[in-house]
């Protein structure tokens, strides 16, 4: 149980406080309701590039990191297709420094050309390091546009192509800031060794006079229901073949989310899971195999991924995955097995309460979903799932005409014992 207090400033900033005096630290987590899905199709990768620029100095504070490090604090941030999240951890005695820094960059950025130029390069190196210069690194650049045809989930957070990042202009940066980085579009969570009264005062003092700005109304093209089987085969300089089967599935707010998540656990969580036990251990068809969901705020993906053992042909591997899906559609999951994945979910939730930062991030995310208190009811929702609901979801999701299959083949090398690195795709 994570307790919290909640209030809203006049400018629309939502503030949550989680008091935890077992630690000498404080966390300040700020979630902006903007992600890669809010980007223009011609300027992808922008939300993430922008996250980098948030560290390039704000209107009154030329250097963001230095003053925080000086008071013993650390910070980082991440961008997803749905959100951009910034967080600071610091000794609670210095929590005001976090308010000072975060409020100034919500008020206005410095918009330095030098910062833009450098961060463009840094992000391009990140693009190479994580997506291009890694075996299989470009999988998501290929899989997303197969599953999504109209929704902006069709591009990855890093962006569709390096070109979009190279082309970013300071005017775009300013416009993006104005549109998304205002109090109405943010959720602030302060946790740790603080009191609600103290946070109220500090929030009023530092964030209270930031103009509310205009409310961003999200109006994204919905992804239509898929009616045909999709398939793509690609070849890369990788040592092993790889197979991905992705299905469209419900959004995060749907009640079907809970059985869907448990299906992925039944298939692939831990060494007792079906895919591991049957396909890796017993039938020895795969060297590794995974199932997971993206849990996106809009229509999500259910993904199966596996590397077949060398010598196993791709059709056999694919059929074996489908056979496991068919079982879920045709047979009730035994109660013991369902209880097992539910117990695992329950203990994971308890373990997550050991981390102050995790608690703060979760409160912010659930508040974005509608109500932070739902975080405390999450376990109960998983525990309430029945075998009938599992079967119902399996039937709804695992259909050929709802599938996108990506076959990633290892390029045949001509006797060179050291295969070369995969080359850039674009």
């Amino acid at each position: 149980m994570v307790k919290f207090n909640r209030f809203t400033l006049d400018n629309g900033l939502r503030v949550l406080v989680h008091e935890d005096n077992t630690t000498p630290m404080a966390v300040l987590n700020i979630l902006y309701d903007v992600g890669a899905r809010d980007e223009d199709a011609e300027r992808t990768g922008f939300a993430h590039l922008f996250e980098h620029l948030m560290f390039g100095g704000s209107v009154n504070i030329p250097n963001y990191d230095g003053p925080l490090q000086r008071v013993g604090g650390e910070n980082n941030a991440f961008t997803s297709n749905d959100i951009t999240n910034y967080y600071i951890t610091l000794p609670s005695a210095n929590v005001e420094t976090a308010f000072w820094l975060e409020s100034d960059r919500m008020l206005n950025l410095a918009f330095s050309e030098k910062s833009l130029e450098v961060q463009r390069n840094v992000v391009i190196e990140e693009f190479k390091q994580r997506y291009l210069n890694q075996p299989y690194g470009d999988i998501w650049l290929k899989l997303r546009p197969l599953v999504y045809k109209t929704h902006p989930y069709r591009w990855a957070t890093i962006g569709q192509t390096i070109k979009h990042i190279e082309d970013a202009k300071i005017e775009d940066v300013k416009a993006f800031f104005k549109k998304h980085y205002n109090p109405q579009n943010a959720i602030l969570v302060v946790g740790g060794d603080v009191t609600t009264e103290q946070v109220k005062k500090l929030a009023e003092k530092w964030f209270g006079n930031i103009p509310a700005g205009e409310k961003y109304v999200r109006n994204l093209p919905p992804e239509s229901v898929q009616h045909e089987e999709r398939r793509e085969t690609t070849t890369g300089k990788v040592p092993l073949n790889d197979i991905y089967i992705a299905f469209q599935t419900c959004d995060r707010g749907d009640t079907a989310y809970y059985p869907t998540e448990l299906i992925s656990d039944i298939l692939s969580r831990g060494n007792s899971s079906r895919l591991y036990k049957n396909l890796v251990k017993d039938k020895q068809l795969f060297s590794e195999v995974h199932a997971y969901i993206t849990g996106s705020l809009d229509k999500g993906m259910f993904v199966l991924q596996g590397k077949p053992v060398q010598g196993v042909d791709m059709d056999t591997a694919e059929q074996a995955l489908w056979a496991e899906l068919e079982k879920l559609k045709n047979e009730d999951v035994p109660l013991d097995e369902l209880t097992k994945v539910q117990n695992k979910t329950e203990s994971t939730m308890v373990f997550s309460e050991m981390s102050l930062l995790d608690k703060a991030m979760n409160l912010a995310y659930y508040e974005l979903l509608g109500d932070a208190n739902e975080f405390n009811h999450e376990t109960a929702k998983f525990l309430a799932v029945t075998p009938a609901q599992i079967k119902e979801q399996a039937l709804a999701i695992f259909r050929k005409e709802n599938s996108s299959t990506l076959i990633y083949l290892a390029e045949q090398t001509d006797g060179v014992d050291e295969p070369e690195l995969s080359e850039a795709e674009n």
């Binding site: 630690t23 630290m25 504070i61 990191d65 230095g66 490090q69 000086r70 008071v71 013993g72 604090g73 650390e74 951890t89 610091l90 000794p91 210095n94 005001e96 130029e117 450098v118 390069n121 840094v122 992000v123 190196e125 390091q129 994580r130 291009l132 210069n133 530092w206 006079n209 300089k237 990788v238 040592p239 092993l240 831990g270 060494n271 007792s272 899971s273 036990k277 020895q284 060297s287 590794e288 590397k307 053992v309 097992k340 994945v341 117990n343 979910t345 329950e346 203990s347 994971t348 308890v350 373990f351 309460e353 050991m354 981390s355 102050l356 930062l357 070369e420 690195l421 995969s422 850039a424």
Partner: protein, 427 residues
């Protein structure tokens, strides 16, 4: 209402007191040592069973890691699948972690399920049999995984670097795909019996570990767990570093080059270690470090660059690591050299040094997030043969070391000419 001053930072406080939880210690009848960290609100515990690795045989580089991993794969009474079913059913997590010095088995469990999960761990630690079929699967799958990893420049650079620094020892000799072939169940069983004995075992429990938890642990692990085999040899051969200091592995078509630069170094038990941690932080140990500020934030050559010190039981190293654009690899290395030389010739400005002091103390405080982090702090000193005075000395050093001291240390320890430089990609 007065205008809010947004330009001046709010006043701040230094970190004064860092309180570390010290464990309660027990020794079981069979010689196993038990350390107890009892704190926290959640009804859960983490229990680590830690064993020193046996002496390294370069002809069988995978022995320690394979034995550790395959503990999960069957005992005389339970198959791998049954072990997994039981652990997963109770929502517990059983992990097998191999490190260069120690191998360990870790159980995470809700305390209410301790009586169901603990016997599984006991069984695994006392009665593993390394079934041939499971071993064959392990060999094949690990070989395949290694093939993929060998395509990653940073993975290859790390291996080449360790090999150069640590030679033919457990820290340096990396396994090749063909080394998996020589593993066999009989060798592994023998290794297991020598290594996984109570006299070579340190148990560390952290969480809500009250009397009942401790009683469950002592009862389970004192009962019928004896030192039966001859004691295993846990000494390690001496480290000899390579002669060649420049190692370049070209990868055609590489977009980035992985670089790793450094040298053999002092261990945590050395008196200069805390001071060198301050120096390392200035150089590449945090986001605002000189390497990051220059090579990422000013030049944009990389997504990340950092430096660090590794301290093992029998050896240590200092290293700088990054993946940089292939076209700027030479330029990046030149900047690294410049930063190293600057530390040797110029005093660190007091403003920068005070920032690093505060950052390091805040970071130490912040690393004590929960009772498990306190146990981790204990492990760092315990396995280096140190006691809690180390952290007092560390905090004192961070607070008081001078710019002159740091310059002298840089001169004494950082010798770019003699650094090992590994480049994988293009140069």
């Amino acid at each position: 209402m007065t205008e809010l001053d947004r330009k001046t930072p709010p006043p701040f406080n230094g970190v004064e007191n860092i309180n570390l939880i010290h464990p309660e210690k027990l020794t079981l009848d069979n010689g196993a040592k038990l350390f107890i960290f009892n704190s926290g609100e959640q009804d859960l515990v983490r229990i680590e069973f830690i064993f020193s690795n046996l002496r390294f045989d370069p002809a069988k580089p995978l022995m320690n890691v394979a034995v550790n991993t395959l503990l999960n794969d069957g005992t005389t009474t339970m198959t791998a699948a049954q072990i997994a079913d039981k652990i997963d059913f109770y929502g517990a997590f059983l992990q097998f972690d191999y490190g260069y010095d120690n191998s360990q088995v870790t159980l995470y469990t809700l305390t209410k399920h301790l009586n169901a999960t603990l016997p599984v761990v006991k069984e695994v630690l006392t009665d593993s049999i390394f079934p041939g079929k499971e071993l064959a699967t392990y060999k094949r799958n690990q070989q395949q995984k290694l093939q993929v990893s060998l395509q990653k420049n940073d993975f290859v650079a790390r291996r080449l670097f360790n090999e150069a620094i640590f030679g033919d020892t457990i820290y340096g000799k990396a396994a090749l795909p063909e080394d998996f072939q020589s593993l066999n169940s009989d060798d592994m069983l023998q290794h297991f019996k020598q290594m996984y004995q109570p006299a070579n075992c340190t148990i560390i429990v952290a969480g809500k570990a009250g009397v009942e938890v401790v009683a469950a642990l002592t009862n389970t692990f004192e009962d019928d767990w004896n030192n039966t085999a001859a004691e295993g040899d846990i000494t390690q051969p001496d480290v000899t570093s390579a002669e060649e200091r420049f190692i370049y592995k070209e990868k055609a078509g590489a977009l980035q080059s992985a670089i790793r630069i450094g040298m053999p170094f002092i261990k945590r038990s050395h008196a200069d270690f805390p001071a060198l941690q301050v120096l390392n932080t200035v150089l590449g140990g945090y986001f605002g470090s000189r390497l990051m500020s220059n090579i990422r934030e000013d030049k944009g050559y990389t997504y990340g660059i950092g430096s660090g010190m590794t301290s093992f039981k029998h050896a240590g190293s200092f290293f700088i690591a990054s993946e940089v654009g292939a076209d700027v690899c030479k330029a990046a290395i030149a900047e690294v050299e410049k930063e190293i030389n600057q530390l040797k010739t110029e005093l660190i400005p007091e403003d920068e040094l005070s920032l690093v002091r505060n950052f390091m103390l805040g970071s130490l405080l912040g690393s004590l997030e929960n009772v498990m982090s306190h146990a981790d702090k204990f492990k760092s000193i315990y396995f280096s043969g140190l006691d809690y005075h180390y952290y007092e000395r560390y905090a004192e050093t961070v607070k008081n070391i001078t710019a002159q001291d740091l310059k002298a240390l840089a001169k004494k320890y950082y010798d770019f000419e003699n650094f090992y430089t590994v480049i994988v990609g293009k140069y």
